[in-house]
């Protein structure tokens, strides 16, 4: 097996290239710029297209145009940039164009900071822009997953004609680990809807305008039927030591992986802890949560935010067990701190 030591951001970019990404359109922003820099080095060498756009708005609209040709395209940014991109993401979602959007997220609101954050959870999982829509959201937890989810992301994007967001943060982007470099993707979905000149067929139209109420409603129903199908098929989560756990932590991304160590350390301290790591943030793996409420006594949402995913956890738990929260802002807590957090909640709950 070909193992290469890579940074998370590089692994993601390389994964996208292996998946056939042919166009990158981006605007520099810390801590995501390494992805753009990697693409700027690599794509021209293989005949692909790299454009540094004049703005985040232009970048996402280049993705809109690029995806409409049927080619695999992507952009990468961070919080403030993702906010600007929301206009375009709404259009792309309604036009049902597959593409990959990476958020190497940083703390907000406002300019915030460049440190790790999960504070864009609501923005990513609720649509984020105007109108009724969803994007699929994948949350990798290792450098290997940065590569693998780029490949998976394109596959899901094409299969459901939906923009896919990869939610990472700066520590994961900079985390260097051995990566098994995957094979190049060689088979691709046909895209008869793509626009690239109408030779030999009727013209195709990519459009998001629906002036009459009934057509607009029909469009929304169509999108939500698709979302229902995605919810049926694509919820993903990893569970860790939940079978006999009294306290089940729910966390995503690299943070969740750090918490595995805390779960083990909490158990050494007599607290039977477990972990659910949502891999798809949308669709949210609510069945995994619901299942553990049969056996656990408390759920604990750990986030690098003031508490966003906790709302989805509460909805999934349907009041069966209490849902507690532990959050920090601006950095990825150490496992020792997270262990203390777990033990504190366990003690308060008399576990």
């Amino acid at each position: 097996m070909n193992k290469v030591l890579m940074k998370g951001n590089e692994a993601l970019a390389e994964g996208a290239i292996l998946a056939g990404c042919w166009g990158f359109f981006g605007y520099p922003i810390t801590p995501s710029s390494e992805i753009a820099e990697y693409m700027a080095r690599k794509l021209p060498k293989i005949g692909g297209i790299f454009v540094q756009a004049e703005s985040e708005l232009a970048a996402i609209n280049m993705v809109y145009g690029g995806a409409s040709t049927g080619e695999r395209v992507m952009t990468a940014s961070s919080g403030p940039g993702l906010s600007l991109k929301q206009e375009g993401i709404s259009f792309i979602a309604e036009a049902e164009l597959p593409c990959l959007i990476v958020n190497v997220s940083r703390g907000g609101p406002g300019l915030g900071g460049i440190q790790p954050s999960q504070g864009d959870y609501f923005q990513a999982t609720r649509g984020g822009g105007h109108g009724d829509y969803h994007t699929m959201v994948l949350a990798p937890a290792s450098t290997q997953e940065m590569m693998d989810f780029a490949i998976l992301g394109y596959d899901l994007a094409d299969r459901y004609r939906i923009p896919v967001i990869i939610m990472a943060e700066g520590t994961l982007g900079n985390l260097m680990e051995p990566v098994i470099v995957r094979d190049e993707v060689t088979s691709f979905t046909e895209k008869p809807w793509a626009i690239s000149g109408c030779q030999g067929r009727k013209p195709n139209i990519i459009n998001t305008l629906h002036m009459t109420a009934d057509v607009l409603e029909e469009r929304n129903r169509h999108l939500f039927n698709k979302y229902k199908e995605i919810e049926m098929n694509e919820k993903r989560a990893e569970t860790f030591m939940v079978e006999d756990a009294d306290i089940v932590v729910v966390a995503f991304g690299l943070l969740a992986r750090v918490i595995k160590r805390s779960v083990i350390d909490a158990r050494k301290n007599g607290v039977k802890a477990g972990l659910i790591r949502p891999i798809t943030l949308w669709p949210f793996p609510d069945e995994h949560i619901k299942a553990v409420t049969e056996t656990c006594k408390v759920l604990l949402s750990m986030e690098i935010s003031m508490g966003q995913m906790i709302q989805d956890i509460r909805l999934a738990a349907e009041g069966r067990v209490p849902v507690e929260f532990y959050g920090r802002i601006g950095f990825l807590p150490n496992p020792e701190e997270l262990t203390r957090g777990i033990i504190d909640v366990a003690e308060r709950k008399g576990l």
Partner: protein, 183 residues
Amino acid sequence: MDDEKQILFAGFGGQGVLSMGQFLAYAAMNDGKQVSWVPSYGAEMRGGTANCLVTISSEEIYSPLTEHPLMAVVLNQPSLDKFEALIKPHGWLVINSSMVDRDSERTDLTVLKIPVNELAEEMDNARGANMILLGAYLEKTGVVRAEDAVQHFEAVYKGKKEIIIQKNREAFLAGVEWAKKNW
């Protein structure tokens, strides 16, 4: 997890701290180990020092982070001041005595001191100080066998000029020799 080691490298930006960690991660990976390398993060980011944390384990690594590394390799005084108290009980502390004036206040640690800046100047290889330190460190601790690690210079410095690779290897080997004699 039981043999998991976490090693912190810390110093000023420009002292080659990050590349020391990357070299170790690379060598450990080629030794068949699970590894992770993560640059300055969290609260430790503030305060003018660069640092990185390398985790080496024979099993899956859960946390690439820690509050309490087993070993710390410090290249300057502020790094010693900041990290000394955080090292695990009975852990290791390696000090660049060229840039650090005081002794460790911890009595439980294995403390190793080496004047790498002077050694590098003697070799007329000022930029090789970090590799002298790494060579000595590996020779003494055996985290990765120094004679295995030295095989990886070509791969780690792929694309760099031969003279740079050569100078780094020389520095590394000088560190190995120094450790054999002095530690």
